[in-house]
């Protein structure tokens, strides 16, 4: 295991009944990097993201978060968050959605207000606080879901097709916000995307998946060129 790996996968196997959905012998996610998962539909990107966030458990093999088993790890749960490709808005207002994770963490109410309003503003949702979260457009829903995740100031962010199903304005906004976070550093981002140009521009590295297999990993054209030691890896 690399010393700078925040998440490491070894001999991972995930199957539905007898159908093998994902098989990855080895993959490390480095602390602070932006890793793109690239591949066609059904290649296992969503499954991998959910496995990394401990929303589902592997059939065999191990996933470790900072060296500890990821399954049931409170640190992973508290410091990482996953955003669905097609996010589920919780019943109630946009404000309730964005404040939800902070309430769970028992953050004091004034701070919840401040941070929630900040996150809404960041995603251009300032006028949306009182709106019914179930009655938003696809792009708006996507932005609410991102605000709901970012308000937690997560160290690890798992994003499943963050710009899919968005209108142009929403997509641009999301791309800008994510680029800023990546540029600022300190946040590990693992995301999947169909948007090749966007993925390449944002990512430090790109992992190519096909039919549940990891084909190769390439360095992206990110603004922070990967150090030499981070040369493309190809698992045996």
């Amino acid at each position: 295991m690399r010393s700078d790996a925040i998440l490491s996968i070894r001999n991972l196997l995930f199957s539905y009944g007898t159908r093998e959905v994902l098989s990855i012998p080895e993959l490390d996610v480095r602390a602070g990097e932006t890793l793109a998962l690239v591949g066609p539909n059904g290649s296992g990107k969503t499954t991998l993201l959910k496995l990394l966030n401990d929303l589902i458990r592997p059939s065999s093999g191990s996933i470790r978060f900072e060296g500890r088993p990821a399954a049931g790890d409170p640190g992973l749960r508290a410091r990482s968050v996953y955003v669905h490709q097609s996010p589920f808005p919780l019943a109630g207002t946009v404000y309730r959605n964005v404040a939800y994770g902070l309430r769970v963490r028992r953050v004091p109410e004034p701070e919840i207000r401040r941070r929630t309003e900040g996150a809404l503003e960041l995603l251009g949702l300032s006028g949306f606080a009182r709106r019914d979260a179930k009655r938003l457009s696809g792009g708006e829903t996507q932005r609410v879901a991102l605000a709901r995740a970012l308000v937690l100031e997560p160290e690890v962010l798992f994003l499943d097709e963050p710009t899919a199903q968005t209108d142009r304005a929403s997509g641009d906004r999301i791309r800008t916000v994510l680029a800023d976070i990546a540029a600022r550093g300190g946040t590990t981002i693992v995301f999947s995307s169909h948007d090749g140009a966007f993925a390449e521009a944002l990512a430090d590295r790109a992992a190519f998946l096909e039919e549940g297999r990891l084909l190769r990993i390439e360095a992206g054209r990110a603004r922070r060129p990967a150090p030499k030691s981070h040369a493309p890896e190809f698992p045996a």
Binding site: K50, P87, G101
Partner: protein, 226 residues
Amino acid sequence: MNPFLGALELILSGDREIFLIAGTTLRFSFWSTAFSTLPGLALGILLANHRFPGRRAAAAVVSSLTALPTVVIGLAVYSLISRSGPLGRLGWLFAPPGVVLGQTLLALPIVVSLVYTGLSKLDARFTETLVTLGAGRLRRLASTLFEAKYVLASALLNAFGRVTGEVGVSMMLGGNIRWYTRTMTTTIALDTSKGEFERALSLGILLLTISLAINALVHAAVKHEE
């Protein structure tokens, strides 16, 4: 006479007994629905959210229990609360608690079944969203109830409607005692047996109006949910 006019006249006449009967009906239904709420929610959530051996079988049993004939429930509870039965010393037979007990048992599978189906229809992404945002077990439970509040309301209204319209339990366990356990349905049964079809029909229309109002609420709740 036109039974619709008869129903109207029945309501407008200010007849104390009619209001008492309607009140008794609502009172029994209110309490039996109230008593079936907590266990109904608990069992429905258990069935929907927890995997345990025999879960599918349990769900199937509950759903078939919703079709249990009221007279079967009436008979079972009767033998339970008769003075010669195990709970005889309570003196619940031919008294409101007996009817409420029977109607609670009638309402319970309806609540469980509708809560279960309602929660089962909740998107898988819903629970994943709660989990990834860090919600623990209790918080998830509370959020699930909030998310499904219209489903729950419609389950309770359905149960309320069912017990309001049933006759078997009220008749067998209440005894159709005037000024005491006589409900709208037992009054209708009595009037029919006495050949007073017009009054029975008018009462029936009154009852229908009440259940229509309740059903309108159910539909409004469900429609809002969609």
